[in-house]
């Protein structure tokens, strides 16, 4: 593997190596403003490599791997190389990050308070975070939120945002073209396009915030609001975490504290505009003019 790149995103410093120049060039361009690992030390390593030696040139097939691999995962065509690189990096974080509790969630911040959005793939949490992050919110991450077990804060992990299908056009109307990667067609999830977060998300990547509101969005559902009790929120958050079990009692305690302090609401919505209205209304309702921290605790 002759092509490599290292970067730091929040507390996570990674290396990625590739058999091909193309995906690394895309990463270099899209992650141009990101810092290098402190002292040059990366704690996770990802690879994208030829599934078989000849598949580097002949009908190139990209396998995803690194410190952690998924046996029998199907390789991707080279035209999806950037997607493969992002998937390889996600895999390393999901399997290997143990310094905070990983939540499969998107997160945005305003006035030092964090809105967490938890949902399965297709729930729209990523699009919603991207839209809010173009408005008067700061994007913390669209894929993983890192829960600090000591102080209960959410730490940013602002990787490239993975936009899918209609969401691509919606965001391309609002953000500078230089922030987008190539449109990748024909993936199992349809079209995918990666977008670099806004400059404030990158420059403030070491600045976390206290969680203030927890949403469970569901795109395409009736726009009903349902308060989610702490018990259900707890279960859904453990299900969305890859390292909850291994972090033991510290994770249990931190998560317990989180769900007891945080208002949690499941929301259905039909469009981005509608979702933003709901989010703003819930945010204002729950935070009001006062500091939510005192209201909730």
């Amino acid at each position: 593997m002759t092509h490599g790149f290292a970067l730091r995103v929040g507390p996570v410093a990674m290396r990625i190596f590739s058999d091909w120049a193309g995906p690394i060039a895309d990463l270099r361009r899209l992650y141009a403003d990101y810092p290098q690992p402190d002292d040059g030390v990366a704690s996770l390593t990802a690879h994208i490599g030829a599934a078989r030696p000849w598949r580097r040139w002949l009908r190139p097939a990209v396998s995803i791997g690194g410190d952690f691999t998924i046996p029998d995962a199907l390789p991707l065509p080279l035209s999806q190389g950037l997607l493969a690189a992002e998937m390889a990096m996600n895999l390393q974080v999901a399997m290997g990050w143990r310094q905070q509790m990983l939540l499969h969630a998107s997160a945005v911040e305003r006035d030092g308070r964090v809105l967490l959005m938890v949902g399965a793939s297709g729930s729209g949490k990523s699009t919603l975070a991207a839209l809010l992050g173009e408005g008067d919110w700061r994007l913390l991450g669209d894929e993983f939120a890192l829960l600090d077990l000591e102080n209960g804060n959410i730490l940013p992990f602002p990787r490239l945002i993975s936009l899918k299908n209609q969401a691509i056009n919606v965001l391309q109307d609002r953000a500078d073209p230089s922030r987008f990667g190539p449109r990748i067609t024909g993936t199992p999830k349809g079209d995918i396009c990666h977008m670099r977060p806004r400059a404030d998300a990158i420059s403030r990547m070491d600045e976390g915030g206290a969680p203030a509101l927890l949403l469970f969005p569901a795109f395409g559902s009736d726009n009903a609001l349902r308060p989610v009790p702490p018990s259900e929120a707890f279960f859904r958050l453990t299900e969305s975490s890859t390292n909850y079990v291994g972090l033991g009692e510290a994770a249990f305690t931190a998560l317990n504290r989180l769900v007891r302090a945080l208002p949690a609401v499941a929301i259905g919505y039909q469009s981005g505009e509608q979702a933003i209205e709901i989010v703003e209304a819930l945010w204002n309702e729950n935070l009001g003019n006062e500091n939510l921290g005192s209201a909730a605790r």
């Binding site: 002292d39 040059g40 030390v41 390593t45 690879h47 490599g49 410190d67 310094q99 390292n243």
Partner: protein, 336 residues
Amino acid sequence: MSAMRHLVAALRNPASTATLRGDQWSALISVARGEMLLATLGHRLAGAALPSRVAALFAAECAYARQMQRHALWEVEMARRALTQIGVPVILLKGSAYAAAGLSAAAGRHIGDLDILVPRDRLTDVEAALIDAGWDWVKNDPYDQAYYRQWMHELPPLIHGARDRMIDVHHNLLPLTARHHIDAAALIDRAQPVADGVLTLDPIDRLIHCAAHMLADGDLAGGLRNLWDFHCLTGDAAALDGAWQAQLLARAQGFGLTHSVRRALRLSAALYGDGAVLRLTDRLFIRRLLARDAMGRPSHPLTQLGFYTRSHGLRMPPAMLARHLWRKWRMARTKI
């Protein structure tokens, strides 16, 4: 020096990490993780001056490993409860034995499946008791089931339905088809209690098992970790009895494992200890043990293939191997 050499050097002498550059740390972390030695390294480097990101990583890895050991010891307790009803004590092997006995090899050690040893004449009862307590077969294929039962040193692996954890029930340390035969009853006779209804092998037999598992069975995948276990076990044995090496070699001779045990002693002294006079073939083993590049990927494919082939030769005689591979090839074809 290669990343794998840095890893071995760091385990042997933590002070050797003082001069590492950032990229060398990145490579060392990746290969240590690949060899399942990251938390072990974290324990070994406790107290050394480390870059702050490295120290944070090791702290998290050590805490994680500690939690996973709690899970592993809970599995021990579950097995004990299941087997105590039929009067079979649980003799722990490998990682869970080291953790239950509080041995130095347990520090940061990853523990996967629960490995236990039971008397062969109680195997049927043990199997029934475990299934009764919620374990179930992983491999339901009739050929695999028959193969394990006829030829292997363990039952086909069982997995617990609710806790999703595997248990390997051994009645011997090496396959019945292997070149050497170990008298399992002799091991069971000398097993030492570590808790009520829970035992481990005697310190010398732990070394025998570790060497046999590493060198007389398998293809040396994960060998660097197994060799670290062996190195730690030699230290524990030496602390108990100054004559440990003579006892070990006498015991090895009784089991026909002199060759493997002597090689394990040379390899562990060469890589983790004060050095050893190596034979030409030892260098091949070291090449295999260190077969990982600075990006953390397995390297030296021909050496690896050689050891993979050797592992099959160790496990069964040639004619039987041919039948087995033919059968497996046909099974793989029909699945596709």
